[in-house]
Symmetry: C2
């Protein structure tokens, strides 16, 4: 018998993955779900999985290794594999999932007006230069915006974007839409970030200049945003109105 190969239809078959290993990973999860196994339960042995899913033991084992690394399974040599409880921690929209503010809007059920408060080309301060690994002399675009829902301000946004990424004059760019879309158009799609969160009041300057005295305590997220290839794009600070936003995550 040839070793797989005979194009195996299964193309377009619901979910699955490209490689056999990925299909087995999903197959194992399905099997667990079908049998109603819970945290701590023993899952079928490699031999049983092989009988159910086909394939060879190394392939099955690679699929199992994926699930182990994902924290869904734990192994005990000579005893078997067991469902961990960590795998059952379900978090709705984890803060660790990268998404633009515009994408997040839908999740919270808000539709935003996006008001541009100002934009300018500036010299970065030390912190921003370090975060974005800017060369001496490189400048940034400082973009100040406000997101409103039904005329009430909900998010105050400050972005420091590497000037060199935008090949056009900054006044020709439409800053009132999704910033991610703008950056993607210039070939620098944001894909991930390192972030720091804290609770504070809005900066004095923002309160006084834009009439935000009623904003109340804010959930501030400072992010250094990168492309898929790890190139730093911008440093963003977003103050979310505390009374309107909450963020989920799992800890383990």
């Amino acid at each position: 018998m040839p070793q797989r190969g005979e194009d195996e239809d299964m193309a377009g078959a619901g979910g699955g993955g490209q490689t056999t290993v990925m299909r087995f990973r999903d197959g194992i999860l399905n099997l667990v779900a079908e049998r109603g196994l819970k945290a701590g339960d023993k899952i079928p042995t490699e031999a049983e999985l092989k009988a159910h899913l086909g394939g060879s033991r190394p392939t099955i084992r690679e699929a199992l290794k994926l699930l182990e690394q994902a924290g869904i399974l734990s192994v005990e040599h000579g005893r078997g594999r067991f469902l961990t409880a960590a795998g059952t921690l379900h978090v709705a929209r984890s803060i660790t999932h990268f998404e633009s503010i515009t994408e997040m809007a839908g999740h919270f059920g808000y539709s935003y007006e996006n008001r541009v408060l100002g934009f300018s080309e500036e010299t970065p301060d030390k912190a921003v230069r370090a975060a974005l690994k800017l060369a001496p002399g490189e400048t940034i675009i400082r973009l100040e915006r406000l997101r409103l829902h039904e005329r009430k301000p909900l998010i105050y946004c400050l972005a420091m974007i590497r000037r060199s990424l935008i090949s056009d004059p900054i006044y020709e760019v439409d800053w009132s839409g999704s910033l991610n879309a703008v950056l993607e158009r210039y070939g620098h799609a944001p894909r991930m970030s390192t972030a720091e969160a804290r609770a504070e009041m809005l900066p004095e300057s923002a309160i006084s200049r834009h009439g935000l005295a009623d904003f109340g305590p804010a959930f501030l997220i400072d992010e250094t945003v990168f492309t898929r290839s790890g190139e730093p794009i911008m440093f963003a600070s977003d103050w979310y109105k505390g009374s309107h936003f909450a963020f989920n995550f799992a800890r383990k």
Copy 2:
């Protein structure tokens, strides 16, 4: 040649893991570090890794699968494996790592006084009952505490603990130490949680009753805490003084 087995000293050798696969996983990371490979770079082929690390191809491949699942490597059939940028996102103390407040204290460089403001046995409200999956009639222990550093209040803590977990009268328990240690002593060590974070001012009742008017905006973390086996233990709300705490995480 026997297939491994000859006890291979290597015990206590720096890091490493128990199994060969774990050692190879670390070995690959070390190799990458030594050679100064960066995001997007091609890592050595399976054959080269085998030559460097020893072992067999299936074992090497299982180690690689771990790194792929961890998001550190990506594969392209026929081309090779490449370092992803996501793997280079380093976060100091991620908020997604479960730890007790006492443990966190050290990280922030604070040493705390732990003041018990009150404890009592109560009937849970609907939200807590749902989060802890309490049976009708089950009660909770409500524990209210304050962490101070140099006499200044930094964290206001409210915990709702399943009464049935503590087999002693609640007034015989020392609540002034680590809550995790107490629960561990009764065989219910906290290990993970689902959490929600937001920014808000302290509850009115806490401000007025405990003189916390100067606390300012707080970073509130609501957590449902579980044991390793997934059993819900308690529902904790911790208000961190916004001016003193920031929390890190990666988004991808």
